[in-house]
């Protein structure tokens, strides 16, 4: 269908005070190739909105340009269906509210400059809507079945809630029984008020419910051998002693839990393995479950027991983090001892008692118990005495005094290590073998692939497993979005994701199950999931022009693109999150969305009128991230911060979606400088597309190289980080950039 453009200009909210609306209208009518241009002082009024609707229905308008307020306001009013492309140009925010009428000493100049600005924005907006078409979803045959890997508390809860919601679920468990750690515990810390009494482990009820649920299939003593495909179409090879079978699922929940920190590493520090009566909290649990807590040295009951709370945790040489549950487990163990052996004293040796929230009540309960002694300090030495007794020396951190506790048995509360943690020593060995065999110093996997723990064994170009954060947890990096994942359709849950107790693991399993249900529903209709949920567009690759440079397959933050042998990208549209980072990466500009393409951005750049050098009206282009920088600008406008009228802004999905070709286009069109405002990168990155900001910055190196070749100053192209709460700084950053580059003089390529 041909594009039929209707332009609607709002003159309210102060727009009329800054701009000559009649002049704008006649420019629009003359130059934008629209069907008409209508003006109203209140475009957001119901009356006017219904006029737009009439135009769509009776005049066949399918491109609507509304020049008024930011699309962050009155979003509901300007929805006209999937076939109508709408662009809302914030003339109010970008021009009227931020106009600095004292910008020039020549009183007539400022209004003229802002008028030019508004004209350019209208032209850019028209270029945007005219060069985009309504996207249609790719709908393929998908399954809505869900796979849960790991049959512990998180996995069982996830499986049950998904099954109760009508989804078919398969649980793969590596052990011969379901239940995970719960099955190995005598009791668990209280999860119900008054949070005082130990509770029965939850697995018994969970397993019963799973067994009687017709929607759940359980595969015991099984592992995932290979996972390929995409959400809605994952093919998972499951292997056990009987053989291997492949099932198709729509989403995967990885609830593979944790393993205890290796106590062998605590031999020097706490005597584990050296002194017979030093045991771990896991061994303690096992003894309690079997009904008898005894000294390994002689099988008799200890008269005194010490528990070290942070044995190998909060320790730079071992696990620097806190495992969150060991304090409460130690309190629980103290209760076991008092219940099973009323004459035995327990000494709890802690750094801080971590019983957060409602669990303070459990801590109080333990403090009420006789025979339990709490001592704060750092354990500096464990020595063995006569009859295998143990002397534990503590530094009381603040006093500088030393205390010695003599006991018959010592329990080490070792921490949680996620099953996703790659054993670096083992991997190093493996690599060495490879080097020796083929004489090459290359890994056999695709270059750039991350080393994985080989749990899901993904056939993805970017690695075999979920990417992990520090310490090996495949947790979300986003506080607001705890199920954000870099592998679409695969969600981690439970203690594999972060140290947590069974109550939290239950909640976490339920949450992950909901995300799995969401992704299978979204995949069935071909829409994106968070953060661009509902987006039906997808990147189209014009493969004839692909040079197999592999940039897109390396850069995709979500591992959506695989590669064939030659390096040609193999898109998996259902893994795609529509960030546009691939299109920012492609030097050939062959990747486009229907409603967002390199051509569209180039046309927007070219539509800006370019005064000649002698006019002394330079032009600056600012690409701004629509997640943070653009809303920040809206807020700055609300507070009437001022912006330099020489600046033209283009919102982008992510700074990683800015192709360096756009920068070249802008420089050759005569722009004097280009600024990119994106989110924070680095360890605490805030980029919602994970790597976009990082990649944008990385690509700047190439840009700087290009500038050098053209003998242009490096300051002409810059990238800066902003966050939404920086709204008060954003206009200043832009204005300062303009001032800095303006001092360099005009872009020498301007008049070519």
């Amino acid at each position: 269908m041909d594009a039929k453009l209707g332009v609607y200009i709002c003159s309210g909210c102060g727009i009329n005070d800054v701009l000559d609306i009649d002049a704008l209208t006649s420019m629009v009518n003359k130059e934008l190739g629209c069907q008409f241009c209508k003006v109203d002082p209140l475009v957001c009024s119901d009356d006017f909105v219904s006029k737009i609707k009439t135009d769509i229905e009776s005049e066949g308008i399918n491109r609507v340009l509304i020049a008024g307020c930011s699309p962050r306001y009155f979003a509901d009013k300007f929805k006209f269906g999937a076939d109508v492309m709408v662009d809302r140009l914030p003339l109010r925010e970008y021009v009227a509210w931020m106009a600095d009428m004292e910008f020039s000493t020549d009183l007539d100049e400022a209004p003229e400059l802002y008028q030019e600005l508004a004209e350019d924005y209208l032209k850019m907006s028209a270029a945007r809507v005219k060069n985009s078409t309504p996207p249609t979803a790719i709908v393929e045959e998908t399954t809505k079945d869900i796979l849960v890997v790991g049959g512990g508390v998180a996995g069982l809860n996830a499986a049950l809630v998904a099954a109760d919601n009508g989804y078919k679920v398969t649980i793969v468990e590596k052990e011969a029984e379901l239940g995970g750690w719960s099955r190995k515990f005598k009791a668990v810390i209280p999860q119900q008020s008054p949070y005082r009494d130990l509770q029965t482990p939850p697995h018994v009820e969970l397993i019963e419910a799973v067994k009687s649920n017709g929607n759940i299939t359980v595969k015991l003593s099984s592992r995932v051998k290979k996972t390929s495909g995409q959400p809605g179409q994952f093919d998972v090879a499951i292997k056990n002693a009987e053989g291997s079978e492949t099932i198709r699922v729509g989403a995967i929940i990885q609830a593979t839990g944790w393993v205890p920190y290796n106590p062998e590493k605590l031999t020097d520090k706490y005597g584990y393995g050296k002194f017979s009566n030093v045991v771990t909290n896991i061994a303690m649990e096992e003894m309690a479950l079997n009904g008898k807590i005894v000294k390994p040295s002689d099988g008799s009951a200890p008269k005194s027991i010490a528990i070290i709370h942070c044995a190998g945790s909060r320790d730079k040489e071992h696990l620097p983090y806190c495992s969150a549950v060991c304090c409460r487990a130690a309190l629980k163990h103290a209760l076991y001892v008092r219940e099973m052996m009323p004459d035995t004293n327990v000494f709890l040796l802690y750094k801080d008692i971590r019983s957060p929230g409602v669990f303070e009540q459990f801590y109080e309960r333990v403090q009420e118990e006789e025979g339990i002694f709490l001592t704060k300090g750092d354990v500096t030495q464990v020595a063995e005495g006569d009859n295998n007794t143990l002397s534990i020396t503590l530094d009381e951190t603040l006093l500088g005094e030393q205390i010695v506790v003599d006991v018959e048995m010592l329990v080490l509360a070792t921490g949680i290590v996620p099953t996703s943690k790659v054993d670096e020593e083992a991997v190093a060995e493996e690599e060495e073998v490879e080097v020796a065999e083929d004489g090459k110093k290359e890994k056999s996997k695709a270059s750039g692939a991350e080393v994985g723990a080989q749990i899901l064994n993904l056939t993805y170009r970017q690695g075999t497993d979920l990417p992990t954060l520090k310490y090996g947890f495949p947790d979300s990096h986003f506080i607001c979005f705890p199920y954000e994942t870099r592998r679409t359709g695969i969600y981690a849950a439970g203690a594999v994701r972060a140290p947590m107790d069974m109550g939290m693991a239950k909640n976490d399993g339920l949450g992950a199950a909901l995300k799995a249900m969401q992704v299978v529903e979204a995949s069935a209709v071909g829409t994106a999931v968070h953060p661009r949920s509902g987006d039906v567009s997808f990147p189209d690759f014009f493969m004839q022009r692909c040079t197999q440079c592999k940039r897109c397959t390396e850069d995709c933050p979500f591992g959506a693109l695989d590669e064939d042998d030659k390096g040609t990208p193999m898109p998996n549209p259902l893994r795609c999150r529509r960030c546009g980072i691939c299109f920012g990466a492609c030097p050939e500009r062959i990747i486009s969305f229907a409603d967002y393409s390199p051509n569209m951005v180039s046309q927007m750049i070219k539509s800006v009128s370019m005064p000649e050098e002698d006019d002394e009206r330079p032009r600056y282009l600012v690409f701004m991230c629509e997640n943070d920088a653009i809303p920040a600008l809206d807020i700055a406008a609300w507070y009437r911060h001022k912006i330099n009228p020489w600046v033209r802004i283009i919102p982008v999905r992510c700074i990683g979606a800015v192709n360096t070709v756009f920068i070249a286009d802008a420089l050759s069109s005569g722009f004097d400088g280009i600024l990119m405002l994106g989110c924070k990168r680095g360890d605490d990155y805030q980029c919602h597309m994970v790597r976009g900001s990082e990649l944008g910055n990385y690509r700047m190196e190439n840009v700087q190289e290009k500038l050098k070749q053209l003998v242009l100053e490096p300051e002409r192209v810059q990238i800066l980080e902003v966050e939404l709460s920086d709204w008060h700084r954003v206009p200043g950053l832009i204005n300062d950039f303009v001032e800095e580059v303006n001092d360099l003089g005009a872009n020498p390529y301007k008049d070519f």
């Binding site: 809630v161 409602v358 506080i479 140290p499 199950a513 709460s725």
Partner: protein, 412 residues
């Protein structure tokens, strides 16, 4: 009005539940008693441990709400009655008027001229605001309203009489919502620091709460983000954080609020960013930074100008030049320690709103008012309504809450 899920409370847990439910195809009515969404988090400057702004995630969630026709947001709204059972609840929702009727453009002009100012609740009274205003720069919905406390003010009445866009005679409306399930995400309020007699909050200007500190550090706050002494606006040379101010305390809140340690460590960073040389004291009973938060504690412990004390602050008294003196008993030595600072920040805990505003339907609550979830119920609590917790855990629970209630209304 018919819906699948009725969500009570438009803070981070309620917002998350709403978007997650809508994105799995359920109809949602989200009810918030204030005239804006965001609850406590929209008042915060940064989140721990990333020190990223809460408004960043909120903005994305607001975008998800804006574009999703399955979500209906009611602000200024709270339930007065809920009847029925799983699958068929009937809730009466009272919607407070905003007392405005003009368009945005007119209201902006009118707000400029508004003669009445009231203490700004959003800033915990640290500044004043026009009675006709928009709650904050990120308010959703972004619209004007008249503060209820100003409605009977004679000056406001006179002003309204001469203005077409304000109508102080507007009355609350009641809407009936038929919902198949309900999520309670009614959140919390800070423990009332006025009850802590020994700490002299309310009497000494330079004793503030942790939530006030969030506003003080925020660019939209009372001092445009500059942290200064409230008494005279002077810079901070010394500050002290009082952990467990009214928490883990039988006379006040016996429980731990789970987040205050991290919040104070975060606020330590706010002060440090503005005052590289300030001396900062933190008084802990236990430093509770579980999981990977330990790294954050480590960073602060490595700061040579931050001094960590073990002990609970027993009293705060006035000192010279507007300074305040804190006295604490060291838990290990039982000796008294004193420091004198420009600003004392009380790490007050979380009180569930459900203790005062009881849920309108019979739910299990512990003695502190937290709602305890039971399996297979059409009403589920999420976020701090259920127990003290941080934002990520609230969002996990809110997401899971959707899965819980969904199965009670027949699943997919």
């Amino acid at each position: 009005m018919n819906t699948d899920v009725l969500i009570i409370g438009g803070g981070i847990a309620g917002i998350t539940a709403a978007v997650e439910a809508a994105e799995v195809g359920k109809d949602v009515v989200l009810v918030e008693r204030e005239h804006w969404l965001g609850g406590r988090v929209v008042q915060m400057h940064k989140y721990f441990p990333k020190l990223c702004p809460p408004v960043c995630g909120l903005e994305i969630n607001f975008r998800r709400i804006r574009q999703n026709p399955k979500i209906k947001v009611l602000t200024g709204a709270s339930p007065t009655k809920i009847e029925g059972d799983t699958g068929a609840y009937k809730a009466s929702i009272i919607i407070e008027p905003r007392y405005v009727k003009g368009d945005f453009s007119e209201l902006t002009e009118c707000a400029d001229k508004c003669p009445v100012e009231v203490p700004n609740r959003f800033n915990f009274g640290l500044s004043k605001v026009k009675a006709l205003h928009i709650a904050n720069e990120l308010a959703y919905p972004f619209g004007y309203f008249v503060e209820k406390e100003a409605v009977n003010d004679p000056a406001m009445k006179e002003f309204a009489a001469g203005c077409d866009c304000i109508d102080l005679d507007m009355q609350p409306e009641t809407v009936e919502v038929n919902a198949k399930s309900i999520i309670y995400a009614t959140g919390w309020e800070p423990y009332d620091a006025n009850k802590l007699d020994n700490l002299n909050f309310g009497k000494l200007d330079n004793v503030v709460t942790n939530m006030m500190m969030e506003r003080m550090a925020s660019a939209g706050g009372p001092s445009q983000g500059k942290i200064t002494r409230p008494s005279d606006g002077n810079p901070i040379t010394k500050a002290a954080f009082v952990q467990c101010a009214g928490s883990r305390d039988e006379k006040h809140l016996p429980y731990c609020s789970a987040i205050c340690c991290m919040a104070s460590l975060k606020q330590n960073r706010y002060i440090r960013e503005q005052y590289p040389d300030a001396e900062i004291h933190i008084f802990f009973i236990d430093a509770r930074t579980p999981g990977r938060w330990e790294d954050f504690l480590q960073e602060v412990e490595d700061d040579p100008k931050t001094i960590i004390h073990r002990g609970k602050v027993a009293r705060i008294e006035e000192a010279e030049n507007g300074m305040v003196t804190l006295t604490a008993e060291n838990t290990l030595t039982a000796k008294l320690e004193q420091v004198t600072v420009d600003l004392a920040i009380l790490a007050t805990g979380m009180v569930p709103n459900a203790i005062k505003d009881k849920p309108h339907i019979n739910l299990k609550q512990d003695k502190y008012g937290f709602i305890e979830n039971i399996d297979n119920s059409g009403v589920v609590a999420a976020g701090v309504a259920a127990s003290p917790k941080d934002v990520a855990s609230s969002n996990e629970e809110a997401t899971g809450a959707v899965a819980r209630v969904m199965k009670m209304m027949g699943g997919k």
